[in-house]
């Protein structure tokens, strides 16, 4: 059965609002599964936000980057990716 994405979106937004970021993340990942465009970047941005709130800035940077790839003109996506520009793995390579 095709999921009702408006319902999924509302549930995910509710979880996010209640700071239940992991639950919100699970829903957004479910919505993104099989959608190469990530709903034109929207889901990439939302997944990135969840990861960032959960403290995983590397994953957040990756997903913000995917959002920008899918929709480079949305300034919100681009600025989120720029904000995490300095997140890297240098400390792991020393």
């Amino acid at each position: 059965m095709t999921p009702d994405f408006n319902l999924l979106e509302r549930r995910a937004a509710d979880f996010f609002e209640k700071r239940a970021f992991l639950q919100a993340l699970k829903i957004y990942l479910h919505m993104a599964d099989g959608d190469a465009s990530l709903d034109a970047g929207y889901l990439g941005f939302r997944i990135g936000e969840c990861y960032e709130r959960l403290g995983d800035r590397h994953a957040a940077k990756f997903w913000y980057g995917r959002a920008v790839e899918e929709n480079p003109t949305i300034e919100k996506y681009a600025s989120a990716r720029r904000r995490l520009q300095g997140v890297g793995i240098d400390d792991l390579l020393r």
């Binding site: 979106e9 599964d33 099989g34 959608d35 190469a36 465009s37 034109a40 949305i74």
Partner: protein, 260 residues
């Protein structure tokens, strides 16, 4: 017979040189549908008064009726096209595309494109739009041309060559802007008005931006997004849909599902 051959030759030439415009496409040459067939939709004349003659409107409606082999398209459809052409000529290209997107004509295939060309050639050869409509099985009265409706407005005196011509309204800009979403007296949704409301909700005229995967997307000055995810590369399990994102007072991402 020679005219038929000319049409076939023209068709073959267009097949070789162009692709089918499956939906209404605005160009500087005019409003195109099918294989480079330009619809006779005139832009607004001086002082915002429409210069669309009754003949132009009847011709456009006849062409579309013949092309799609269905009931005559409503006058409102032609009014929406004219509005889109006016916006395009004023440099509001994204806004023009937005109006076109909401006209809702079915996709054009080769057959429809061919019939559209045939209809245009017939009109150019002097066949009346009424006769054309009749030839494809519709009653002339269904068109409701209002050619002799004395209540139909005319361009007032003092407008040069346009004076006295039939028009579809004294000031189309005002007519469109005053409209709001809802249903008309026949219960039909007023799509032209909805598109104006959309523009208002988007904080002004949106920009047209195509996504890397080819989805048509309109981005409003307030950050709202209207996007058409219609191809498999543009959607996942949810199927083809229209996206409304970041609209004031709405959930952040609303999907309008479409039949695949």
């Amino acid at each position: 017979m020679r005219r038929v051959n000319d049409v076939d030759e023209d068709w073959r030439r267009k097949q070789a040189l162009s692709t089918v415009h499956r939906s209404l496409t605005m160009t500087d040459a005019g409003l195109i549908l099918g294989r480079e067939t330009i619809l006779p939709i005139a832009m607004a004349g001086a002082a915002g008064v429409s210069s669309l003659s009754v003949d132009d409107e009847a011709n456009a409606r006849a062409m579309l009726t013949v092309a799609y082999e269905r009931r005559p398209v409503p006058k409102r459809t032609v009014a929406q096209m004219r509005r889109a052409v006016d916006l395009w000529r004023q440099g509001e290209k994204a806004l023009a595309q937005l109006h076109l997107a909401f006209i809702g004509l079915p996709d054009v295939d080769e057959c429809v494109a061919y019939r559209l060309l045939l209809a245009k050639k017939a009109l150019e050869a002097g066949v009346s739009p009424e006769a054309l409509i009749k030839a494809v099985g519709f009653n002339q009265t269904a068109l409701d041309f209002e050619k002799y409706n004395r209540d139909q407005p005319r361009v007032p005196a003092g407008q040069g060559r346009e004076s006295g011509r039939w028009t579809s309204g004294a000031n189309n800009q005002q007519t469109f802007n005053e409209g709001r979403s809802g249903r008309d007296k026949n219960g039909l949704i007023q799509l032209a008005d909805i598109s104006d409301d959309l523009v208002e909700a988007m904080g002004g005229a949106p920009r047209l931006v195509i996504t890397p995967k080819g989805a048509t997307q309109f981005i409003g000055p307030n950050g709202s997004v209207l996007r058409f995810d219609l191809l498999p590369s543009q959607y996942g399990a949810q199927g083809p849909h229209i996206n409304l994102q970041n609209f004031p007072g709405a959930p952040p991402n609303v999907h309008i599902k479409l039949k695949p």
